[in-house]
């Protein structure tokens, strides 16, 4: 038994190697949100379009909702947009938007071109609400529960697989 002690450093090394190797496979650009299970931050954004309301903290209480952060200059937003259009057509869950660091006219043109799936759109041209939400890029997608707490955050475009595997089950659970 005592003779096997010389293997201890090797075992320690292997343990650390496995641990660090696992760390290397993680995507460093995905930063865990500090707001998971926290109430939606205090914010209030003006409307992007004259015929559609803006978005504020109070609007996110009472119903399970999706909040999508997008910008017209964001290419991956274009990639995920058909999914939001599809979901809006089904109408199961309201999809709200924060239009982040964008010009109003550019965003409106973008929605005219690709379709507007959103129930409410808040215009956040100068990142005031973005900082409150801890947004660090677009697109980002948040799931809000009935009590107005953030339950999930996805960074990057939501592809159909991510939706069916993660978001849809969570929405079902939250809606009870």
């Amino acid at each position: 038994m005592k003779r096997l002690f010389f293997l201890l450093p090797l075992a320690l090394f292997l343990g650390m190697a496995v641990y660090f190797a696992k760390g290397l496979t993680k995507d460093p650009s995905l930063i865990p949100s500090a707001l998971i299970d926290q109430p939606v931050p205090e914010f209030s954004l003006p409307a992007l379009k004259p015929d559609k309301p803006g978005l504020a903290t109070g609007d996110l209480k009472g119903d399970v909702a999706i909040v999508n952060v997008f910008a017209s200059w964001c290419v991956p937003c274009r990639a995920e947009h058909p999914l939001w259009m599809e979901l809006a057509k089904r109408g199961d869950v309201p999809i709200h938007a924060i239009n982040w660091k964008d010009q109003k006219s550019a965003a409106i043109n973008w929605l005219d071109e690709l379709g507007d799936p959103y129930a409410r759109i808040g215009h956040d041209g100068d990142n005031t609400a973005g900082i409150e939400w801890g947004v660090y890029g677009v697109p980002e997608t948040y799931i809000i529960d009935r009590e107005g707490r953030i339950r999930y955050k996805h960074v990057g475009p939501v592809f159909p697989e991510i939706y069916t595997e993660t978001i849809e089950p969570l929405l079902k659970e939250l809606r009870g």
Binding site: P28, P32, G134, G137
Partner: protein, 160 residues
């Protein structure tokens, strides 16, 4: 000549190290506050470029955070309050230096623990060896002495 070129190269190298992203219109009028903002900014990670501080980064989000830090300082926040504000929204990740707390003990103290383990291990290893080196050798018997004498003697004769 060579020395002159070297000196010139050194001069060229300096601005790279001190280049900052802070724009003139961001700078606060109050020099003391600005100095605090600069020091704080050096410890805040730019979340887009990740291994740059917001003081170094030209990213748009870094600019927003620099302005935010200055706004909060002007409003009378302490340095810790500013950092708290950011950590609440972006998580510990926004700090370039990870905070010391239970989930980071391994990170902060792990290397020290390994060093101590190594020293303890080395201590026992060396202590275990010492008795072997200090073993008393038995004195030679008369017979053995005689044999050594003959051997040495015969060698002397051959050499001579």
């Amino acid at each position: 000549m060579k020395l002159a070129i070297l000196a010139l190269l050194c001069l060229l190298a300096v601005p790279v190290g001190t280049a900052v992203a802070v724009q003139p219109n961001e700078v606060l009028k109050d020099a003391a506050l600005e100095a605090r903002a600069r020091t704080l900014s050096k410890d805040i990670r730019c979340l887009v470029c990740q291994n740059q501080s917001i003081d170094d980064s030209n990213a748009d989000l870094a600019r927003d955070l620099r302005v935010l830090v200055r706004e909060r300082l002007t409003q009378g926040d302490s340095d810790d309050q500013v950092l708290d504000y950011l950590v609440k929204r972006y998580g510990d990740y926004v700090l370039l230096k990870p905070p010391v707390k239970s989930s980071t003990y391994v990170l902060w103290f792990g290397p020290l623990v390994i060093l101590i383990l190594g020293i303890v291990g080395l201590f026992f290893f060396l202590r275990g060896r010492r008795p072997a080196a200090a073993v008393q050798t038995a004195a030679l018997s008369e017979d053995e002495k005689r044999r050594i004498d003959t051997l040495l003697h015969s060698r002397d004769q051959k050499d001579g």
